[in-house]
């Protein structure tokens, strides 16, 4: 595994993100949607809402951000290069399939985590400053913040491996992105169900889910690496 080759692709991806308006808009729109709705709702809550809120975990709903933000980027990552003819020159270099895929995963992971933490932090700050004090202390709980910190990278990585797996097998960018969103809906649904107490959030559930996601993320890299086939990517056959 060559760190230099991995970072070459990561740096290239970052440069492309910065200069691609579509990518920037995609990264901004989803978090804004996730931020505005609960913000408006929470700021309008009276102080009396604090007691029922303290038994719920509505902020976990924001775990939808790391599940969705990187999925579009990851789904486009390989198929776009294939369509634009930039994949073949890269694959003719000494880069290994695993290095290429790791780079393709790291590139969307970093902004996804940064955006998720930033939006969450912004939400907490606004709530602390402008919501009723009782509502703020009911919503902003230590365990929920910890859950957000831990699950954000795990969900983002899951989302990325799903996206890349689809991207390596797809021949159309839009189809890959749509499939990737569909592939990530189960995780969004799970976090939403926990947020709204349909599934009871317990320490055991949190630990179990975290361990499961760590395993899935590791297996994901192996599975996607096994799916990576230079010949199929270049010729479209096999």
């Amino acid at each position: 595994m060559s760190r230099r080759r991995v970072m070459a692709i990561v740096r290239k991806e970052f440069r492309e993100y910065r200069r691609n308006r579509y990518v920037l808009v995609t990264m901004a729109v989803i978090p804004v949607i996730f931020l505005l709705q609960p913000l408006v709702y929470t700021l309008a809550l009276p102080a009396a809402a604090a007691v029922p809120l303290s038994h719920r975990h509505e902020l976990l709903y924001m775990l939808g951000i790391p599940a969705l933000v990187p999925s579009m980027l990851a789904a486009a990552s390989v198929v776009t290069e294939r369509q634009q003819g930039t994949l073949e020159p890269v694959l003719t270099t000494p880069i290994r399939g695993k290095e290429f895929l790791l780079a393709k995963a790291l590139a969307p992971l970093v902004p996804a985590i940064a955006v998720s933490y930033a939006v969450y932090g912004l939400f907490v700050i606004i709530i602390e400053l402008f919501a009723h004090a009782g509502v703020a202390s009911a919503l902003v709980q230590g365990p929920l913040i910890l859950a957000q910190v831990i699950f954000t990278p795990l969900l983002a990585l899951w989302s990325i491996w799903v996206g890349i797996a689809i991207s390596t097998r797809s021949s159309d960018v839009r189809a890959a992105q749509q499939l990737s969103v569909v592939g990530n809906l189960p995780m969004v649904a799970l976090s939403t169900l926990v947020a709204f107490n349909t599934i009871q959030a317990t320490l055991g559930l949190a630990v179990g889910l975290a361990v499961a996601l760590i395993v899935i993320d590791r297996v994901g890299w192996r599975v996607v690496s096994a799916m990576f086939d230079r010949e199929r990517l270049i010729t479209g056959t096999r």
Binding site: I9, R11, K12, E88, T93, P94
Partner: protein, 321 residues
């Protein structure tokens, strides 16, 4: 980069073939290329040229046969090591259009893990006369300039074997000439070049040897060798008035093997060696009192060779030992 001094074959290919399901891309291809040689790989569209390059570049696995690339056996396990020693410029430049020329090259310099990437990039850009455009986004460059950037990218790693796949495809004549000049310069500096093209004048101008492929290898050799191998050498004689007895004029002359009258009223004389036959024919014509207008050696182009070979369903040949 110059590697003429290296021993052994830069490319050694034996009965190599690739099949995609029922479709045969190329079959039983054999040849050897020395270090420092510029080798032309000719053939019509769909002949299997690009697939051959991709196979030798470890992008796709051969279905049959064997090869060594830059001295390393062509196997899946050796993929990284082979790709480290070669460079492929695909038909489409495949540049990152939002990145500048220098950023594109920086990415590839790091993928090849070259030492002193800044110096290498500068040297590669200087080689293709693009140093002053280093900070331009590739999307703002013309097709010809993009091709030059792709060539600079291929030179970054100072490869032992440089594969150029249709490097002038879609370029206008001026851009084509520029790329030709660059390839010729690389060839003179000792870079081993495997040039696939369907432009015959390109191959004739740039290559030491050429192979003609149409799924199977049809022929291989120096362009002049191929002409000699395929076409009888002839002299074309034009006289002011028809010869009274051409049989007597051309009979028993040294180097002359036969003759016939052509449709324009001239004479086509088959010869074994024009340098021997031409003076003898001239002397004989003068002795016969003929008013000679011209005596010229018939020239066959590589295009004639190509057209002669490409349509014939001949079996694959092997390179002469």
């Amino acid at each position: 980069m110059p590697n003429r001094h290296k021993r052994g074959a830069a490319l050694s290919v034996h009965d190599l073939g690739k099949r995609f399901g029922d479709r045969l891309a190329f079959d039983r291809v054999s040849f050897e290329i020395d270090y420092g040689e510029v080798f032309g790989f000719l053939g019509p569209n769909g002949a299997g040229k690009t697939t051959t390059v991709r196979t030798l570049g470890t992008l796709i696995a051969p279905s049959s046969g064997s090869a060594s690339v830059a001295g390393i056996p062509l196997t899946a396990e050796n993929g990284v090591e082979i790709r480290r020693r070669i460079s492929i410029m695909p038909e489409s430049p495949g540049l990152y259009l939002r990145l500048t020329v220098a950023e594109n090259l920086e990415c590839f310099a790091n993928l090849y893990e070259v030492a002193n990437p800044g110096q290498r990039i500068e040297r590669a850009l200087r080689a293709v006369n693009l140093l002053e455009r280093a900070d331009d986004p590739c999307g703002a460059l013309s097709k010809g300039l993009r091709q030059r950037v792709a060539l600079a990218r291929a030179l970054l790693s100072e490869p032992e074997v440089l594969f150029l796949d249709e490097p002038t495809s879609g370029l206008d004549p001026v851009a084509t000439r520029d790329v030709h000049d660059l390839i010729a310069e690389l060839g003179r500096s000792g870079v081993t070049i495997f040039l696939t093209t369907h432009r015959l004048e390109e191959a004739e101008r740039l290559c030491d040897r050429v192979a003609i492929l149409n799924t199977t290898l049809r022929t291989l050799g120096r362009p002049d060798e191929l002409r000699d191998r395929l076409f009888a050498k002839t002299l074309t004689v034009r006289t002011l008035t028809p010869l009274a007895d051409p049989g007597l004029v051309f009979a028993e002359l040294p180097g002359v093997e036969g003759w016939r009258q052509d449709q324009g009223g001239g004479y086509v004389v088959a010869v074994s060696d024009p340098t021997v036959a031409a003076p003898a024919v001239t002397r004989s014509l003068v002795s016969a009192g003929a008013d000679v207008l011209s005596i010229s050696e018939s020239r066959h182009s590589l295009e004639d060779v190509y057209l002669e070979l490409i349509d014939e369903p001949k079996p694959a040949i092997k390179e002469p030992a």
